[in-house]
Structure formats: structure tokens, C-alpha cells
Symmetry: C2
Subunit: 351 residues, 2 copies
């Protein structure tokens, strides 16, 4: 199994170290061999190679089975022109590899639920999987340009791009509670009307899955007022960007959330949701659990190692239950530890 690591910027390198430690532990415990190579992306790549996505990184990723990404971006590179921004590296990888399905599970951890901005009775027991289309829509549509004193961006989708993500969503709902919420803006956008048609067509192939259509503005409300009503949510790229970030703060522990960006053959990129956090980079305090749980997603989705994935998730849960947490979190009567110590705790629970 070929694995590429892209530590990236800010806290990226620190959490990537945690990922390695956990992977090595899983390898020796279960008798696997993971070969990994490290490459540059984002601001780090800009500094060293004057491009956010070097050829060499792309080629390595193209020949890999899975990619672990730390984080990209930081104000240091904010004033560079569009094509030289760290984010371009990430968008480039997604598009080049065709990683069209972004899976963002949002689920609280019992010992941390009290840190949610929501009242406990509202957030308790909520468990949502947001599936965002990742390689189409306004992110890549052409034209996207200035015209004299005007400007246009283009929201474009091919029917097949909608079909594959909607299929993925129905299949995911089958593995969970058989409920799918499709989010669009069909009262305004033609693309949403096609999206809704396809969801309705597909739903005939998945009669065991109940389907609900929700407008994006209503979904933004309902995530806050009734998060428990959702099981799997599927939506296009930009709506997914907004709603998945909105959802990510509901449980109060953004630092815990993993994400997967995958394609049909199982190749995928895995990264924590939290981002590069330059203000705490290098201090040894960043929460490694979002990254560690991303490793679990990788083992599950790209390597079909369900047992190993579940073991990591269980270990993380046990550490929290014992009161261990990083500085971004709080557990009453718990013990605050640094990145390395937190990683070591997880490893101890795996072995």
C-alpha cells in the first residue's frame, strides 16, 4: 500500500507526526506494512518550490492508494495572487485525482458534549454524515473572470457528476440509518432542479432509503434547531462547504473532526477539518485527534481495514473517557496534555 503524506502548513507537520506514530502502531499490532513518502503542498511548497502544488507532489499522489494531509494556508501567503495561494494546492489535488466525494462525519463525543455552543438536549445523540460534492460547481466552472466592470463565476455540473455523488450518498445512507436529506436551492437554481430530479430518479433504486429535500437556507436553520433530524446529508460543492463547516462547530469539538475525500476506486485524501492554526503551530499543543481519526477513515475507506479503523476510534474514545484532552478542549476533572502525550495515550490504548 502506497501512502503519501502531505504535512503542509501551520500545525500540519506536528499532527502528521502523530499520524505516523499511530500508523506504525497499527502496522506492528496487526502485521501490516505501510510505506509512506512525504511531499510538499500549500504554503510550504510555495516557500520551497514557488508553487502550491509541485509536479512531483502530484505525480506521487497519482501513484498512491491514499493521501494524508495535515493542513494548508496561513496569513503569511494571503497577499499572493490567486494561482499562488496555498489553497490552490488542495483544490488542485482534489480535481487532478478526481476525489469527488467529501465525507464529513459530525458526531459528538460524550465527554466533550458540554463544550457545544448548543444546549445539550439539542445536540445530544446527533450523528450526521455530510457528503459534499468536491470537484464541480462554482469551484471549477468556467468562465470565472472579470469583464470590464463586471465579473462572473459559473456553477456548472454534468449530470454524471451529480449521479455519482448522489449514488454515493444513497449507499452511505444504507450503511447507516437509511435516511437521506438532499440539499439544494431548487426554487432558484436550474442546477438544483436537475439535482433534485436525479435524487428523485435514483431514489427508485434505493427504496429502503427515505429521502427528504431541503432548501439550503432551511437546512442551515435546521442543523442548529434539529440536528438529530439528519442522518446523511448530500449537497453540491459550495453548499457543502458552508453547511459542513457550520455543522462542524455544533458538537463543540472541531479539533476532533476527520474528513475523507474519495473516489469510486477507494483512493482518497484524508485530513482533519480544523485547518492550519498558525497561532499555535510549533508549540506542541495542537489536538492530534482529528488527524488520528482521519487515519481511521483512511484505513476504513481506502484500505478496507475496518477492524483497525474501529480500534483507533475506540482508543480515542477511551482516552477522552479517562479525561485526557488537549488545550482546545475541556473535560471537568480531566487532564490537559500536549500533542505528543495525547498521541501516546491513543497508542497505549491500541496496543
Amino acid at each position: 500500500k502506497q501512502l503519501i503524506m502531505l504535512p503542509g502548513d501551520g500545525v500540519g507537520p506536528e499532527i502528521m507526526e502523530s499520524a505516523k506514530v499511530v500508523l506504525n502502531t497499527v502496522a506492528s499490532e496487526y502485521g501490516h506494512t505501510f510505506t509512506y513518502h512525504q511531499h510538499a503542498i500549500g504554503g510550504d511548497a510555495i516557500d520551497r518550490y514557488e508553487t502550491p502544488l509541485p509536479e512531483e507532489t502530484i505525480n506521487a499522489c497519482k501513484n498512491s492508494d491514499a493521501i494524508l494531509l495535515g493542513a494548508v494556508g496561513g496569513s503569511k501567503w494571503d497577499s499572493l495572487p490567486g494561482h499562488m495561494r496555498p489553497e490552490k494546492g488542495l483544490l488542485g489535488i482534489r480535481k487532478t485525482l478526481g476525489l469527488f466525494a467529501n465525507l464529513r462525519p459530525v458526531k459528538g463525543f460524550a465527554p466533550l458534549l458540554h463544550t457545544s455552543p448548543l444546549k445539550e438536549e439539542i445536540i445530544k445523540d446527533s450523528d450526521i454524515l455530510i457528503i459534499r460534492e468536491l470537484t464541480g460547481g462554482l469551484y471549477f466552472g468556467k468562465p470565472s473572470e472579470r469583464r470590464d466592470n463586471a465579473v462572473v463565476d459559473t456553477l456548472s455540473y454534468h449530470r454524471s457528476e451529480m449521479e455519482r455523488i448522489i449514488d454515493k450518498a444513497f449507499q452511505s445512507a444504507r450503511l447507516r440509518n437509511n435516511h437521506l436529506t438532499s440539499v439544494d436551492k431548487a426554487n432558484v437554481l436550474e442546477s438544483s432542479r436537475l439535482w433534485r430530479e436525479i435524487v428523485n430518479e435514483k431514489s427508485k433504486e434505493y427504496p429502503d432509503v427515505t429521502v427528504e429535500h431541503e432548501l439550503v437556507d432551511a437546512a442551515a436553520m435546521k442543523l442548529i434547531t434539529q440536528p438529530k433530524q439528519f442522518d446523511v446529508m448530500v449537497t453540491e460543492n459550495l453548499f457543502g462547504d458552508i453547511l459542513s463547516d457550520e455543522a462542524s462547530v455544533l458538537t463543540g469539538s472541531l479539533g476532533m473532526l476527520p474528513s475523507a475525500s474519495i473516489r469510486s476506486d477507494g483512493v482518497g485524501l484524508y485530513e482533519p477539518v480544523h485547518g492550519s492554526a498558525p497561532d499555535i503551530a510549533g508549540k506542541g499543543v495542537v489536538n492530534p485527534l482529528g488527524m488520528i481519526l482521519s487515519v481511521a477513515l483512511m484505513l476504513r475507506h481506502s484500505f478496507q481495514l475496518e477492524e483497525e479503523a474501529a480500534k483507533i476510534e475506540k482508543a480515542v474514545n477511551e482516552c477522552l473517557e479517562q479525561g485526557y484532552h488537549t488545550a482546545d478542549l475541556h473535560i471537568e476533572g480531566g487532564k490537559q496534555v500536549g500533542t505528543k502525550e495525547m498521541t501516546k495515550m491513543v497508542v497505549d490504548h491500541i496496543t
Copy 2:
């Protein structure tokens, strides 16, 4: 002063009755004359005239100083083709009259704060004015069409459309706490990059207003985790649709929220945020306060009657403080009343 009333669908007619009662009270208390005419829009217009926006309604609105709208829409008309949907009536009025600035104040009422889905320490003292661009972007951009097996929508803006809404936002910030958060997706969209440039240019004309740029995904998070950090927020049409609806549930009393859609000369359309709520229509239980507070916004923005507007707002506050509320709300030890009774309470506090 020419005033058009468009009761529309669902609970629209009931809350419009409340608006009339309050307006008549203000007229007689302060010695004003408001002439109003009622016209059809939305599903009601579809049923009676086979179009969601009859010529006669448009013409009446064009010759008016202000428009009060109840609500449009309902599942009854959901299966009609796009151009025959109730929403088209609302979008048509906005565009035809050039009502480019949508003002959505989000502010909690002390007696109702406990109904917020957010913890009290997070939502307490938050007071946000969201300003949404209302006549451009993906809502009206062409092409918006199918092409074989593909589909496109177009996010388009003219520089002048951005300038006028951004100016409005700076001016509004001046009347409040001099802080403006501009929301865009400048790391992906060319339109957002132009938007950000214009905000930065304009900020030189308003040196007393501090400006912050926030990405739309980050703004969706921060509204939940730190709503107090916002004063005035300005953004383009679709981002504003999503974020203003998200924000509208934070205080826990959606039924209380008014909105204004105005243009530079003061002509405006005023409507509650809550929508047509067909399930409770005709039952005499709908909360009229969102509509009544929309009347206050109308008096302030279209008629420059600040004293009268403030009087209505004070009356609403007093009613709540005395424990009166409709079925959508709850006040510990309070008294639940119907639409007419609630309206009468407000009137009693005005006179």
C-alpha cells in the same frame, strides 16, 4: 404616502390584518394618513390570475412608497413549473423595483432568550444586522439553463451593484457600532475577489468603520460560536440567503424577526422572516410580531418616522416583558394568546 399590501399565502392575510390595525393606531396617534391598497402575489395570485405576479400588482408597487408583504409559498404550488411558482412573485418584485438591499436585524428579546438553541452565555447581548445583496448574483445571472446532459447557473455582478450594497453596509455600520464584517469566498471565486477589493477601496471613505473579511464557511461557524463578534455583516445574494436564515434561528424566536428590502430612494418592501406556515394558516394563532416589527422598519426606512418606529418596537418589548406571547414562543409564567389578542396588546401599548 402610498402603501401597497400584499398579503400572499398561508398566514399572510392574518398577519396583514395585524399590520393594518397597528398602522391605523399609529396614524391616529400621530396624526398621519396612510392610504393602502391590497394586491395579489404568490400562490394566491396563481389561483386567481394564473401568474404569481400580475401586471396590476407590479404597476401598483411601482407607484408606491412602500410595500408590506405577508408571505408567499406553500406545498400546494410546489409541483408547478418554475415560472409559475409563488417565489417567482417575490423575486420579480425585488428585481423589478430594484430593491437591492435586504436588511435582516437579528437581536434577541430578553424574555425569549431562553428559547434559543444556543447556550445563554453565547447568544446573550448579540445584536447583528445582516445586509444581503438582493438583486444580483446566482439569482438572476444568465445563462441559467440545461445543456444536453449538463447544467449551468451564473453568478454575475456588475461592480456598481457591489459598490451600492457595500456603501449601504458602511453607512449602516456608522449608525450602529462601526464594525463591518464582509463575507465572501475570495479563496475560490473571482466575484468574491472583486467584492473584497471594493470593500477595501470603500473602507478608505469610512475610516471610522473597522472592517473584517471572513470567508463564508468561517462565517457560518462564527455565527454559532461567537455571534457577539458581529455588528453589521454584508454579503452577496446567495451567501446572504443562507447566513441570514442561519442567523435567524439563533435567538430562538424566528417568529419575531422583521426584514426590509430597500433601494437608495427609500422605497422598500417589508416582510417578516418566518414564511407562509400553511400548517397553522387560518387558525388565528400565528405570531404577528414579525410583521408588526416589519411595519416599524417601514416607518423608519421608507417614511423617516423614527419616533413612531421606536414606539412600536418599545410596545412589542413591553408586551413580552408582561409575559404575553403566541403559541410559537414560551415565557415562563407568561400568558399564551392568539394573533388578534397579541396585536391588541401591542396597540394598547402604543396608545
